[in-house]
């Protein structure tokens, strides 16, 4: 979006610049179309199918969108049109989500590196971790209730509990898969343990860790909802609950679509940052 505006802004400064601007715009448009045609096609099919079926439980996307607008984007312009309900639903949810993900990332990477580097630690902890990550969070509610009580801590804990695994596991994989010669090189030049980890192991494992972080971001969103579904409190999870129990399928769909959208945006930001940080790794294929 901003790219398009930027190109348009440059236009007309000079004829040469204008040509470049036009070419750039054409490329931007082509790129944009290349990215969204499938989504648009699927939406159109869905719209047509839903209209043909006319089932209350499977409303067409346009109806879902208008419900969503009513629910969350009917507020004043000064608040980016966010309604009161939107602030209630998104604010705490997203805070929990990001806090949980950040903690999961830190814990997952630290533990992943430690476990990936040490065979003893790996063998000591592997069964515990495998056991731990297969435990369904709902069965731990009594435990969470006692330790964290209902509320923010419990929700964040649930998110951390679920989102840490992909980071941890991928980091362990990444660390164990580091090209041995990188490590030899680092050792040969007398890098200390810390430097070796920070300057060689982490960057070498970065692509895999990033894959884990990305999966974890999706998980964090999912667990945010689960935490809200099973614990008290508002948020998008509670909205879904209300919509389901109140038999308001369109609102349910709106909530689901909203989750998709939030996940999409988070992922977009993540990819931008990732490209910034570790993109040059693989520009190699031409």
């Amino acid at each position: 979006m901003t790219g398009k505006e930027g190109v348009a802004g440059k236009e007309g400064v000079a004829s040469e610049a204008g040509k470049v601007g036009l070419a750039g715009r054409a490329r931007a448009v082509r790129g944009f179309v290349g990215r969204i045609w499938l989504a648009v096609l699927l939406l159109a099919l869905w719209e047509a199918a839903a209209r043909a079926a006319g089932d209350l439980y499977f409303p067409p996307p346009t109806e879902i969108a208008s419900t969503a607008r009513e629910l969350w984007w009917s507020g004043p312009a000064s608040r980016l049109f966010l309604s009161d309900k939107a602030l209630d639903d998104f604010g705490p949810s997203l805070t929990h989500l990001l806090a949980g993900w950040a903690i999961a990332a830190a814990v997952g990477i630290a533990a992943g590196v430690a476990i990936g580097l040490s065979r003893v630690l790996f063998e000591l902890l592997d069964p515990v971790l495998q056991l731990g990550r297969a435990i369904p969070p709902p069965t731990l509610i009594p435990f969470f209730l006692v330790v964290f009580g209902l509320g923010t801590e419990m929700q964040v804990a649930t998110i951390v509990f679920g989102a840490v695994w992909p980071v941890l596991l991928n980091t362990v994989e990444g660390v164990r898969g580091v090209e041995p010669l990188y490590l030899d090189t680092a050792r040969a030049f007398g890098f200390g343990r810390a430097t070796r980890i920070l300057r060689v192991v982490l960057p070498a494992a970065a692509p895999r860790t990033a894959a884990g972080l990305r999966v974890a971001l999706g998980f964090a969103l999912i667990l945010m909802v689960i935490a809200e579904l099973m614990g008290a409190g508002g948020g998008i999870g509670a909205h879904l609950n209300d919509a389901e129990r109140g038999f308001l399928p369109t609102e349910l769909w709106a909530g689901i679509a909203l989750l998709g959208l939030i996940g999409y945006l988070l992922n977009g930001v993540f990819l931008l940052v990732e490209r910034r940080l570790i993109g040059h790794h693989r520009e190699r294929q031409d």
Partner: protein, 250 residues
Amino acid sequence: MLEIKGLGHRYADGHRALTGIDLGVERGELVCLVGPSGCGKSTLLRCVAGLLRPTEGTVTLDGNTVDRVPDGLAVVFQDYTRSLFPWLTVRDNVALVLRRRGLGRRERRAAAEEALAAVGLADAVRKYPWQLSGGMQQRAAIARALAYRPSLLLMDEPFGSVDAQTREDLEDLLLTVRGGEGGMTILLVTHDIDESVYVGDRVVVLTGAPGTVHTELRVDLPAPRDQIATREHPAFVALRAEVGRAVRRP
């Protein structure tokens, strides 16, 4: 300075790569290792570097047994492409190892650029390793090792991927650098017999399966070596022929 005694190595899969190697290297000496492909030269270097724990014998450096990587060591690996970090530019690859030298960020960069210029990579400092040709990558690895100013330098076929001219330049660069203060001890693996005689103070010929020392030859050639004069020196020709025979005779 470096003392190798009864060294042998058997890999985890049971393959016996080296056996009964005895070798001493004095401070400031440049010893060339030659020998057939697969005879254990790289394995020997790894043992000396403390990267591989030998299954027999010992390596001692200044009287201390090498059981981990010793201080002041630099290595140019045979598989140089994999020893450059793809996430760093060429300059940062060099600058990174200089952290251990206690230099500031700027000084590190300057030193890195200087070393890269010395191997003819002044224009490539900001590129990533995978944007370089094979020979350029190899030179980057050499620059990294030289910039580090190690007291012990291990080089595993460091000039294998560059053209004849560059090779000679690099040989001379190596000779210049080792002449500097501190006195660098160098172990250099090469397949080029002329090169081994030209740069070496001593040439050690290994034979394979499992690797053992076959011959040691002292190179007594006039001190400031010169690509043309030295190579025309009768002693050079004689030595070169001798090494050649040693390598060829199994």
